[in-house]
């Protein structure tokens, strides 16, 4: 508790969701969400399909815009900007600047199929961060080494296994050195035997550093290992949150209890995900 107070006074949240509502037509995915995330914090979002957890990440990555409410990143509005004392919708330039602090790894990897692994990793370094090609290659190779794919630099994504693809996707996001990284069900599309290699890479990143991480996952053991805080969402609201010990050992709400009991029986509900209206390829 004392630690919490100290963090609160010394650190402003790096991400702040304020009264965020997101609807797709009639369907409300998030209802008046308030959420603060501290710099360096590792937060795991768990919850059943359609609970809104993926939407929380997609709003932050600017893949969806909020219906109402605001999001602040590092003390700055993400979806809004001030103009002549009024708050207006952010333009592309503003989004571009704030977005540079955020990176994301997707469930379906979304690697660029027409580029080699090396170019997948260097493309944004060269063309977004304007880093010279030689330096970009150097950084990319370093990162690929870290995720154990140094030998595959000249291959195309189609030549890799799912686990390897996802590790490339992690390298591609990591090389941009974002302050905040989003991991959206990154193991849900993988064969069971490939899940471990990807989770190991993420654990290594989490243990290294001060990067803020938001992990949407159905892997409860992984969430317990990596996260400082677990957030359980259901029906578009945060039902319960706390340390892994608090939530997993002593769930208070009936909804979390029944959710966890389904997982303990070894039947993770990963058949579908919660992008109800967002869809995926």
């Amino acid at each position: 508790m004392s630690q919490n107070i100290q963090t609160f006074t010394s650190d402003e949240p790096i991400v702040r969701y304020k009264n965020i509502t997101k609807s797709f037509g009639e369907h409300t995915v998030l209802k008046e969400l308030d959420l603060d995330i501290l710099p360096g914090e590792k937060v795991a979002l768990i919850g059943p399909s359609g609970s809104g957890k993926t939407t929380i990440a997609r709003l932050l990555m600017t893949l969806e815009s909020p219906t109402s409410g605001t999001i602040e990143v590092d003390g700055e509005m993400l979806w809004h900007m001030h103009k002549r004392g009024r708050l207006i919708s952010a333009n592309e330039k503003h989004l571009h600047r704030v977005r540079s602090k955020i990176g994301m790894v997707f469930q379906h990897f979304n690697l660029f199929p027409h580029m080699t692994i090396l170019r997948n990793v260097t493309e944004a370094l060269i063309h977004v961060l304007k880093i010279p090609k030689a330096e970009a290659n150097h950084r990319a190779l370093e990162i690929l080494e870290r995720v154990g794919l140094r030998d595959h630099t000249n291959h195309y994504p189609s030549q890799l296994s799912g686990g390897q693809k996802q590790r490339v996707a992690i390298a591609r996001a990591l090389v941009m050195q974002p302050r905040i990284m989003l991991f959206d069900e990154v193991t849900s599309a993988l064969d069971p035997e490939l899940v471990g290699e990807v989770l190991d890479v993420i654990k290594a990143i989490a243990s290294e550093g001060d990067m803020t991480m938001i992990l949407i996952t159905h892997e409860m053991d992984f969430a317990r290992d990596v996260a400082d805080r677990i957030i359980f969402t259901d029906g578009g609201v945060i039902v319960e949150q706390g340390t892994p010990a608090e939530l997993f050992e002593n769930p208070k709400s009936a909804r979390l209890q029944s959710f966890l009991s389904r997982f303990m029986k070894g039947q993770p509900d990963r058949s579908a995900d919660d992008r109800v209206a967002a869809g995926t390829e």
Partner: protein, 223 residues
């Protein structure tokens, strides 16, 4: 009925105009490719003042006959706008403009085939719109359209006889001139038909082979 000696004697005259015929088709095709992409992009634009006029123009061109458009270029333009085009140039422009509206639909289907995840990854990596189009979306959307594009080139080649109506000296026009001089139409028109067949059929086989090869690559996930 069929005079071999006569057929042989007129063949060189017909072969002579093959370059003009091919050139009008190929130049028209290049023009259609160049115009088709901006039309496809404009129609996708979120700015309605761009998207709607281009859509209206494109639908208008596509729903009216090529022959009328050629007549407008040759007869109306000199009168109304004081622009006089040679028959060949008018033919290339008419053919190119007409088919650009078809090719824009081919581009559109190619662009639509790029998975949404590619756009999302581009946003997550903070590419701007131009980069996303140039380096991520178009390189993935154009290769799959190549066989369809090839088919349109063949279709346009077979459309070139329409240009005879605006006095472009291509195959049909030449055959007509030969026929009316000797009143022997059978040989001239038959030879024109055979020339079209000889040029079109191997081309369509080539396109089909290309298509098969791309399907194979696609299965391997490279395309």
């Amino acid at each position: 009925m069929w005079d071999w000696g006569y057929a042989n004697s007129i063949l060189p005259k017909l072969l002579e105009v093959i370059p003009t015929t091919l050139a009008s088709a190929i130049l028209g095709f290049i023009l259609a490719c160049l115009l088709g992409l901006p039309i496809a992009l404009a129609r996708r634009s979120s700015k309605k003042w761009i998207a709607w006029p281009v859509a209206a123009f494109s639908e208008f061109i596509r729903s009216t006959p090529l022959l009328i458009q050629l007549f407008v270029l040759v007869f109306v333009f000199p009168q109304s706008f004081n622009i006089t085009l040679s028959p060949f140039l008018a033919g290339v422009i008419g053919l190119g403009l007409h088919y650009s509206t078809y090719l824009s639909e081919v581009y559109r289907s190619g662009i639509d085939s790029v998975p949404r995840g590619q756009w999302e990854a581009s946003i997550a990596l903070n590419f701007n719109k131009l980069r996303t189009w140039l380096r991520i979306v178009l390189p993935q959307s154009i290769p799959p359209t190549i066989p369809v594009m090839g088919n349109y080139l063949i279709v346009m080649f077979k459309e070139t006889p329409t240009l005879s109506a605006i006095t472009v000296v291509e195959l049909l026009m030449t055959a007509k001139v030969i026929g009316s001089a000797s009143f022997k139409y059978v040989e001239a028109f038959t030879l024109v038909g055979i020339i079209f067949l000889v040029l079109s059929y191997p081309s369509s086989l080539l396109v089909r082979a290309l298509e098969r090869r791309m399907k194979r690559n696609e299965r391997r996930g490279i395309a």
